[in-house]
Symmetry: C2
Subunit: 255 residues, 2 copies
Amino acid sequence: TRARASRADADAAVEAFLNTLKYDDGGLVAAIAQDVDTGAILMQGYANRDAVAYTLKHRKATFWSRSRSQLWCKGETSGNYIAIDSVHVDCDKDSLIYLGVPTGPTCHTGAHTCYYKRVDGPDGAATKASGGRHAAEEALTTLYELEATIEARRVEAKKEGVKPSWTRRLLDDPELLCKKIREEAGELCQTWEENEGKEAAANEMADVLYHSMVMLNKQGVSMTDVLGVLRKRFGTSGVDEKASRPPKKLINVSK
Amino acid sequence: TRARASRADADAAVEAFLNTLKYDDGGLVAAIAQDVDTGAILMQGYANRDAVAYTLKHRKATFWSRSRSQLWCKGETSGNYIAIDSVHVDCDKDSLIYLGVPTGPTCHTGAHTCYYKRVDGPDGAATKASGGRHAAEEALTTLYELEATIEARRVEAKKEGVKPSWTRRLLDDPELLCKKIREEAGELCQTWEENEGKEAAANEMADVLYHSMVMLNKQGVSMTDVLGVLRKRFGTSGVDEKASRPPKKLINVSK
Ligand SMILES: [Zn+2]
Ligand SMILES: [Zn+2]
Ligand SMILES: [Zn+2]
Ligand SMILES: [Zn+2]
Ligand SMILES: [Zn+2]
Ligand SMILES: [Zn+2]
Ligand SMILES: [Zn+2]
Ligand SMILES: [Zn+2]
Ligand SMILES: [Zn+2]
């Protein structure tokens, strides 16, 4: 009965929260599904009171389908759920973020986000660098833009008489790449050891990230994979950074 | 007159695009402003035809204010614009992403995003780790969750008889931290040198990232600063990865 009482408390808290939302004339708030690892906006729909309640209770992104006038737990038919990590509300309480992990492509077209078309070029479709699992005109944030640029360099055709890009040279010469990664890690440490200041630290971290990401590309690994590893180590699951502590290695380090 | 003709072509392309959008009964589509560096969703509003046109033309996130029934170029009065990097439309053409760089806090409350409240805890306000410039209940993606966890370890009080966390030990012993950063960079290289496979590469990259981010915290530098550096080097500005190529260093490397 203690469990039942606590369940009733939780239900009451959810009801109280649902009462604070500012629904529109159709009883809806906006709901934006965002990938917890990459930050990619996957889709945006609308949620009524029941859809928000269902999302909170079942930890799966759920919307109100305006076209079909019914509750729509995303993935119910396709199997491509968005497992909820957390839910956030905006300042005027008419918009939610469903932050979560998609179990497959979100879009019915098979794209992993519904926003795969860029529209602000002079011709309504300017081209951004793209590669890997990203569509050419997706809303890539800086880290993924860099990842896509590296991939574009990997697949670019060699041109007679034109020097290859620096990225391409690194991809073609992994020993040089390894030298650079070790060197840049050292330079990042030096910014502290020699007290070089914040700007130098940011610049050296950028060097470390870029060269390490070229190495990931070389091995066919995406930043999404890496962030998945970090989430499992540090995420809201309760596991904290202890998981990244390798005791045996630590002994080696102390030698 | 060639410039004028090309301007007319561009205007016609924008008009054609505006005709493809699926406006609701109020003549609106949803518009989500997202930080191009961090991926943080800054705010969500609505845009009519004029607001989208204004956004595309002036490269500043612009909405239709439903409460004031007027065009609202965000930052017009506060000075906190969102400079547009690119604009993307979703598959059913009723929702846009304004991907850009905020020049200040987006929210009228002074928060840098309007989504600063988490609502899915049993009491409607569960606590996530948080630190630095992030609010405690923001929708942090994995990289920023990690950054916030590191900051939380930095500020946590030492407890009598309780071993400090691994992160705290690294922060308190920067020489150990530097050793680890150099070691992890070497281990990432080894995954290629010893052909250890993708999973090992993702794990070692996670190690490199985590330890490097502890070093950033040690020096008061945020990942946002680092991504700003990378955007300036690799962004859509046309500058490509050549900017990250240090010719003098390269000579040293070849020694
Ligand atoms: Zn709102
Ligand atoms: Zn879609
Ligand atoms: Zn993508
Ligand atoms: Zn460097
Ligand atoms: Zn849509
Ligand atoms: Zn706000
Ligand atoms: Zn934040
Ligand atoms: Zn190690
Ligand atoms: Zn390692």
